[in-house]
């Protein structure tokens, strides 16, 4: 993002977590409330990034292992004669998906709770900041009108 920009910038989806990173703008006259909001958003972003990067990596890894073990059981190699990667069809993969979901169920429940907490807190802080800014703007306008 350009150096003189006065807003946040959002980037392309991350390779591992599929989440879009945000670079936050820190205004020179940031109030305490605004700082709390920014820090909450940064913390949520970091926590989400950690969770999903690790989760997706685990998924990819376990998927590879599953395909490998199944192919071995069938007596096939990972790559066939033409060099193409051998894959299993959807029905065989279904067992893996079921298993993976079951294994990560508790992890997801915990993550859900955290995500909802972050989301509500950030939105509430955003509301407070917006309210304060609106009141400040109204006060400034009243002063201008009086002058």
């Amino acid at each position: 993002p350009p150096a003189h920009s006065r807003s946040d910038w959002i980037g392309p989806p991350d390779k591992h977590s599929n989440l879009r990173p945000i670079i936050f703008y820190v205004p020179p006259e940031e109030s305490a409330l605004e700082r709390r909001l920014r820090e909450a958003r940064q913390e949520a972003q970091a926590s989400n990034q950690r969770f999903w990067a690790r989760h997706n990596r685990a998924f990819r890894q376990e998927k590879e292992e599953f395909i490998y073990s199944r192919l071995k059981a069938k007596g096939l190699e990972m790559r066939d004669e033409s060099g193409q990667k051998a894959t299993l069809n959807a029905e065989e993969m279904a067992d893996f998906y079921k298993d993976f979901l079951r294994k990560n169920f508790k992890k997801h429940l915990q993550y859900n709770r955290d995500w909802y907490k972050h989301n509500f807190r950030i939105t509430f802080l955003m509301g407070q900041v917006a309210l304060v800014r609106a009141l400040r703007w109204l006060r400034r306008r009243k002063k201008n009108v009086e002058q």
């Binding site: 350009p2 959002i10 989440l19 998906y97 992890k107 859900n112 995500w115």
Partner: protein, 454 residues
């Protein structure tokens, strides 16, 4: 109103208004004529809708079935917007290098003006590379600033406007099937209220699901995921749609409809959305969410919850299962990785059984309709072919359990519902018919009395 359901093509809402306009003109004319007008406009809608369906889905055939079908024009427009932003960024960079003390907003304004000139010059070139550039634009850094001219499009995507249109049309089907004379103002108020309630529910759903949506192919282009709108704005939009919507329903129509609307919003946002990640029961809750709009339409017309309302709700409830289960069959990988508890992942056998069961239930429910005096006996007979066809596809899905059978079942469910509702409407037991019969009897009595008196 369920989130995981996708690929619901928009019903021609304009077509509905055409139907209404025609109706106001024909009010004085006896019911039969109005009937024909309705049939005419509905047939037109169905044909347009069907060809629109074909256009939308043929473009998606190469991609994954699970992709939400976006009309082709949509992608070109968005690519153009993103090219605009790229050019704007280029301009901003130029400003820095020229080292002139320019105020930020002024520079943006000037760059926008110059941009317009650049645009016209480079338009032909842009359109050529628009297709390829779209994915490239996606990898650029974007400023998180809300542009007012983007806002309608963003809000439309936030409220899932196509799904909302479908929900409103099922509600109007419920209104139309109610055995009372048609009132235009009531109909419009009920439709508007339902539409607003649906927008609110969809926005809150997207607000809750941002990180999960980013990880699924089908949903990764939603406004909150892309940072085009802040969560605060999304919640404010939802409140500004939901509160007037429910107020409109409660005060402008009747309290029962308002209560149903509020309950449906609650069920969708606070029950279905969190439940999606906790248990497979979410599908049943989601089916209820989908069944409530026609019930709302019916109560808007009659003011009471009759057996007819429940039957219509029941038909939509049963329809949800073949529709959703077939769709979710192709999305198993995304659901598994995203942590969604869906039948297709955890209980595949149950998934197919339930889909088949409810296809058959549709036949049963269609047969009950004339018993409750909602339609004539021609309805179960005429609807039997389409109900049998969807049951046959449901059976194939149950037996084969593969991608092609799930796709066939899903696509069938898309035209099956509008067809069924259309046939139901044409077979509706006319209110005036019953009144005519009563009058005739009264007249013959009078004539008999006259003959007796000298």
């Amino acid at each position: 109103m369920s989130a995981a359901r996708s690929c619901r093509p928009p019903r021609a809402l304009a077509g509905l208004f055409v139907g209404c306009l025609r109706n106001t003109g024909a009010r004085q004319i006896p019911c039969r004529f109005v009937h024909l007008y309705h049939v005419g406009s509905y047939r037109l809608i169905t044909f347009q809708y069907f060809s629109f369906l074909k256009r939308m889905y043929v473009t998606q055939c190469n991609n994954d079935l699970s992709q939400r079908a976006k009309p082709k024009s949509d992608s070109i427009v968005s690519a153009f917007h993103e090219l605009q932003q790229l050019d704007q960024e280029k301009k901003v960079v130029h400003e820095i290098s020229s080292v002139s003390p320019v105020h930020q907003s002024w520079s943006e304004m000037s760059s926008r003006n110059e941009l317009r000139e650049m645009k016209s010059a480079a338009e032909t070139e842009d359109s050529l590379i628009a297709g390829g550039a779209e994915s490239k634009e996606d990898r650029q850094w974007k400023e998180m600033k809300l542009r007012l001219d983007d806002l309608p499009g963003i809000l439309a995507r936030l409220s899932k406007i196509k799904l909302t249109a479908l929900v409103v049309s099922t509600a109007s089907a419920g209104f139309a099937m109610a055995p009372v004379p048609f009132e235009l103002t009531c109909f419009l108020l009920a439709s508007l209220g339902t539409g607003l309630a649906s927008c609110a529910a969809n926005s809150i759903n997207q607000f809750f699901e941002v990180p999960f949506d980013s990880n699924m192919n089908r949903t990764k282009n939603r406004p909150l995921v892309r940072g085009q709108i802040s969560p605060l704005l999304a919640v404010c939009f939802a409140a500004s749609c939901g509160i007037p919507g429910i107020a409109l329903l409660t005060l402008g129509v009747n309290p029962l409809t308002g209560a149903l609307g509020a309950f449906n919003i609650f069920l969708y946002t606070c029950c279905y959305t969190p439940l999606k990640r906790m248990s497979i029961a979410n599908t049943w809750v989601g089916a209820v969410v989908g069944a409530i709009p026609p019930v709302m339409g019916w109560t808007a017309a009659t003011g009471s919850l009759d057996a007819g309302a429940l039957l219509l709700g029941g038909i939509l409830y049963s329809w949800q299962f073949p529709h959703f289960n077939a769709l979710s069959w192709g999305l198993r990988e995304d659901y598994s990785r995203g942590g969604y508890c869906m039948m297709s992942v955890t209980h595949p056998g149950l998934c197919r059984r339930v889909a088949l069961r409810h296809c058959l239930a549709l036949i049963g429910l269609s047969t009950v309709a004339p018993v409750l005096n909602i339609t004539t006996w021609t309805f179960p007979i005429i609807s039997l072919p389409i109900n049998l066809y969807i049951s046959y596809l449901g059976f194939r899905f149950y037996r084969d359990a593969d991608r092609s059978s799930s796709r066939k079942l899903f696509f069938c469910s898309l035209w099956h519902l509008p067809m069924l509702l259309l046939v139901m409407f044409t077979c509706k037991k006319s209110v005036l018919e019953k009144e005519d019969k009563g009058e005739l009897r009264g007249e013959s009595h009078e004539m008999a009395m006259e003959i007796r008196l000298p």
